[in-house]
């Protein structure tokens, strides 16, 4: 493992039996898992290159139990790592050897669906897809749709501020949650927001969303429901060059159209996907766009005509429009299977998640090809084209000595490049442990210290999910200190009235 985790606390480890017993008093029955064999499934999340056995796994069932576990750990100085379904691609739920892994899987009730107010109140262990399924009968759905939506949970979605292929039009998690119940590391239970828009006071929900389990443990979420669009149709458009595809995306948006989804794949990704699912993708193109319009039929048909005009003007080689729901789903099948498809042509792959200003795409793809040659590793690209979120898949073989390390270095170079061209390290997968040490490429020490001070406001003891997001851990007391240079600051020029 390339990333150093916080030093194990021997004093805590020496008390393991006593800690397990105390936790069993809080969560009786099967809710505390302490045998190595039974803890094994929890040793990693979706970032499987990183593994660690937790000290103990706890699976609470009530908010009161979560509160009691956290209060106990807070009092006794024990670290806690929260976990949803464990689908994080950045190691956000990577256990700590001296920490409690707090699994929220038993919180899987949908507490209320309220169609009049277009909200659902759900427990954090409910899967993303289950929310949409529960409200489908009334013609509603929950918009953010990360590709892991069958498995990933709402609690994890809030922690990671998950996106999906439809977020350019419908927003990411933070734009679609209205309230939550949150337990702080101290055990205090707070309610933020509700069924109304805009929480009162500071937007704490907004900062908890995407905080990667470092600020609190979510025990209930109120999500917005949207009316399902009347229909959706997709166009499959092939180009001879990624520049043309990029130009097409810019002109679609420039002409005032915000598609429900707009995805791009490069040649290696197209080839792998087509071989895998036979979606009918053209194999003689360098870039393929899927542009999906949704809404009333009259609108979708009208806008699709305009999209096709734009595509032709941008030199599209091929353009097909779905004429049935089956055909639309087939267009998507290749894209949605892109990761496993790449998994078929390489023993392992490493999925990156930078976002770039879209105009920089040709440059970034070119530089990535140069890096690919330098590291001797192939790369395939899928791209949420509308919002500039790039998922390069680096192909490697973990059984070949040094390849994982080379893949990680390659990945880090790509992310630094994203930042260099005006983008960011992660668009939707989170920082976790994976990108933790790259944070200084994007943020100054002052920026990171301010973020950590906010962490201190929620978790002064620093016990909740330490070792994630921040490359350097500081004590809150040290961060809080302020050096005031007494007296006059020299700014004679500052206008005063």
């Amino acid at each position: 493992m390339a990333v150093a985790m916080p030093k194990l606390d021997d004093a805590v480890l020496a008390r393991r039996a006593e800690i397990v017993a105390a936790l069993r008093r809080i969560v009786p029955g099967e809710g505390v898992i302490a045998s190595e064999e039974a803890m094994r499934p929890y040793e990693s999340d979706g970032l499987t290159a990183y593994r660690a056995l937790p000290m103990v796994v706890v699976l609470p069932e009530t908010t009161e139990q979560v509160s009691a576990v956290l209060a106990y750990c807070h009092r006794d100085g024990i670290k806690v790592v929260p976990r949803g379904a464990g689908t994080s691609l950045s190691g956000g739920a990577l256990p700590l050897g001296d920490g409690v892994l707090l699994g929220m899987a038993k919180f899987k009730r949908i507490r209320a669906t309220d169609f009049e107010n277009r909200v659902a109140v759900v427990e954090p262990g409910v899967t993303n897809l289950a929310v949409s399924q529960a409200v489908d009968r009334a013609g509603f759905y929950y918009a953010p749709d990360p590709s892991s939506q069958i498995a990933c949970t709402i609690g994890g979605n809030v922690a990671e501020n998950s996106g999906g292929v439809h977020c350019l039009k419908y927003g990411v998690t933070t734009n679609n949650v209205l309230g939550c119940e949150l337990v702080l590391m101290s055990g205090e239970i707070l309610r933020l927001g509700g069924s109304h828009l805009d929480a009162a006071g500071y937007d704490l929900l907004g900062v908890i969303t995407g905080s990667e389990g470092l600020l609190g443990v979510i025990t209930e979420v109120t999500v917005r429901l949207l009316k399902k669009p009347e229909c959706a149709r997709a166009a499959l458009i092939g180009f001879a060059a990624s520049e043309d595809a990029g130009e097409c995306v810019a002109r679609i948006i420039g002409s005032g159209i915000i598609p429900g989804g707009m995805e791009m794949m490069d040649r290696p990704a197209i080839q792998a996907a087509e071989e895998f699912v036979h979606a009918g993708y053209p194999l003689d193109v360098e870039a393929l766009l899927i542009v999906e319009l949704d809404g009333p039929r009259a609108e979708v048909d009208y806008l699709l005509d305009r999209v096709q005009e734009v595509a032709r003007a941008c030199g599209a080689l091929t353009c097909r429009v779905s004429n049935s729901e089956d055909e639309r789903l087939l267009f998507w099948a290749g894209r949605k299977a892109a990761f496993p498809a790449v998994g078929r042509i390489s023993p392992d792959y490493y999925c990156m998640d930078g976002t770039i200003p879209r105009a920089q795409l040709p440059l970034v793809l070119r530089r990535m090809q140069e890096m690919s040659a330098k590291y001797g590793l192939r790369v395939a690209n899928v791209f949420h084209a509308g919002d500039g979120n790039l998922h390069p898949l680096i192909l490697y073989d973990a059984n070949k000595p040094g390849e994982l390390e080379r893949a990680e270095e390659f990945g880090a170079d790509i992310l630094r490049l994203c930042v260099e061209v005006g983008g960011v390290l992660t668009g939707e997968h989170g920082v976790g442990v994976e990108k933790r040490d790259l944070m200084p490429a994007m943020f100054s020490e002052t920026d990171l210290n301010q973020q950590q001070r906010l962490k201190c406001a929620f978790d002064e003891s620093g016990l909740l999910n330490p070792g994630k997001v921040f490359p350097t851990l500081h004590r809150c007391a040290e961060l809080g200190r302020m050096h005031v240079h007494a007296g006059q600051l020299a700014f004679p020029d500052l206008p005063r009235f």
Binding site: K227, A359, M439
Partner: protein, 408 residues
């Protein structure tokens, strides 16, 4: 009159805050002052005037982003966006007319600091949802940044959300980046006339759950409708439903909407130009404008679950002699109450608490705003967290202390 510091760039803002910290002074952060009368009436030693930090620094329509210095006039940004067929989709309201100031004097920093939105909030979100990146000077006198210039980003805590709606109590923003979106090609508003509040509520709920895809839904009682040119001739209460998009879509959805609404009441339609004018007036709570017949009343802004809005509104009318304007399909209530020593704060808050939501006292004399809570009071645990969050940015309480809550 407090002394006024007028920095010209971020470095000077940093210097000014450092100077205030060293001298134990408090600062009132001001853009162009359009929302200066909102918040608790507190006293600050000096004014930090950000309006000198002005100008759009980056605008790439195809990337849907715009960066500007925090003191840039909103009107300048909106003119630039309009010229490029784009807009700030959250439709920020203009507080000028309601508070008795000039219209069109907001700055982008002020819009974000107060997390403004408008009728399209129900479809497109508030300022917070479009706030992509920020550079600011904390109450520690340090320049920090958060977010970026791309629309999809989860790198580090989303401090933009926290700064949105913090009313300058955490940091003085110097540079901001927002998401821009295409302007709808056309719009039209369907008016349903003569509905009582309960029927209007039922209709708006039905519309929001239909394929009509309305981008705004408001209800004005007859006296309020009379105060707006577009609805004055109706001679009845008006329920207004806005459709935006490309022409074929708007036409189709108008048919859907009219089919649904026909059984409720008489229908009429506003074409594009008058539709725009009407929604600007609703956005700015114009029926309660300072220059209007109820200009002396205290004004509350209440956010609640939309289906509960009419219950709150009815209680305010019956128990507090309020005039009530409903936006956000019932989820936003503007209530104008006859002047009183405490803006009937206890009554308003207990009515809102019964239905869920929060209330902000937007307009009241300074003496009232000095004695009653302007923002929703918090539970002790939440108030303690709020205070810790505030102190993590501004441990000495230099920036706008007391504007949101006493002692914070």
């Amino acid at each position: 009159m407090a002394e006024n510091l007028k920095p010209r760039d971020a470095a000077e803002v940093e210097q000014a805050v450092k100077w205030a910290i060293a001298g134990g002074k408090t600062l009132e952060i001001v853009g162009r002052g359009s929302k200066r009368l909102i918040g608790r009436a507190a006293q600050w030693d000096m004014t930090l005037d950000i309006s000198g930090l002005s100008g759009v620094t980056l605008y790439e329509p195809a990337e849907l982003v715009l960066s500007a210095k925090a003191g840039t006039p909103l009107s300048e940004i909106e003119a630039l966006l309009t010229a490029n067929g784009q807009q700030l989709a959250f439709e920020p309201m203009d507080y000028g007319p309601l508070l008795g100031g000039a219209a069109g004097s907001a700055t982008i920093g002020g819009v974000l600091s107060s997390n403004l939105s408008g009728p399209r909030r129900i479809k497109a979100g508030a300022a917070r949802d479009h706030f992509l990146g920020v550079t600011a000077v904390s109450g520690r006198g340090e320049i920090f940044k958060s977010g970026g210039r791309v629309v999809k980003n989860v790198t580090g805590y989303d401090l933009c959300k926290l700064l949105a709606g913090s009313w300058g109590t955490l940091a003085a923003m110097t540079d901001v980046t927002v998401k821009t979106l295409p302007r709808a090609e056309t719009e039209r508003t369907v008016l349903v006339l003569g509905l009582g509040e309960a029927a209007a509520g039922k209709l708006m709920t039905a519309v929001m759950g239909s394929f009509a895809d309305a981008s705004a839904a408001a209800h004005l009682s007859s006296p309020l409708a009379e105060r707006l040119a577009e609805t004055a001739t109706a001679g009845a209460a008006v329920t207004a439903l806005r459709l935006e998009g490309v022409a074929p879509s708007v036409a189709h959805r108008q048919a859907v909407l009219e089919e649904l609404a026909r059984s409720y009441g008489r229908l009429s339609t506003l074409a594009e130009a008058s539709s725009r004018t009407l929604w600007r007036a609703i956005r700015d709570a114009t029926p309660f404008a300072a220059a209007g017949p109820t200009g002396a009343r205290d004004v509350w802004r209440i956010s609640t679950a939309p289906a509960r809005g009419f219950e709150i509104g009815r209680a305010l009318v019956e128990q507090a002699e309020a005039e009530v304007l409903y936006d956000w399909a019932g989820g936003l209530i503007w209530a104008a109450l006859p002047p009183s020593d405490d803006a009937k704060s206890g009554l308003v808050r207990s009515i809102v608490a019964g239905a869920g939501g929060h209330a902000t006292l937007i307009r009241a004399p300074a003496a009232v705003r000095a004695t009653v809570d302007v923002f929703e009071p918090e539970t002790p645990a939440l108030a303690a967290l709020t205070k810790r969050v505030r102190e993590s940015f501004d441990p000495r309480g230099v920036l706008n202390p007391g504007r949101m809550w006493a002692g914070v």
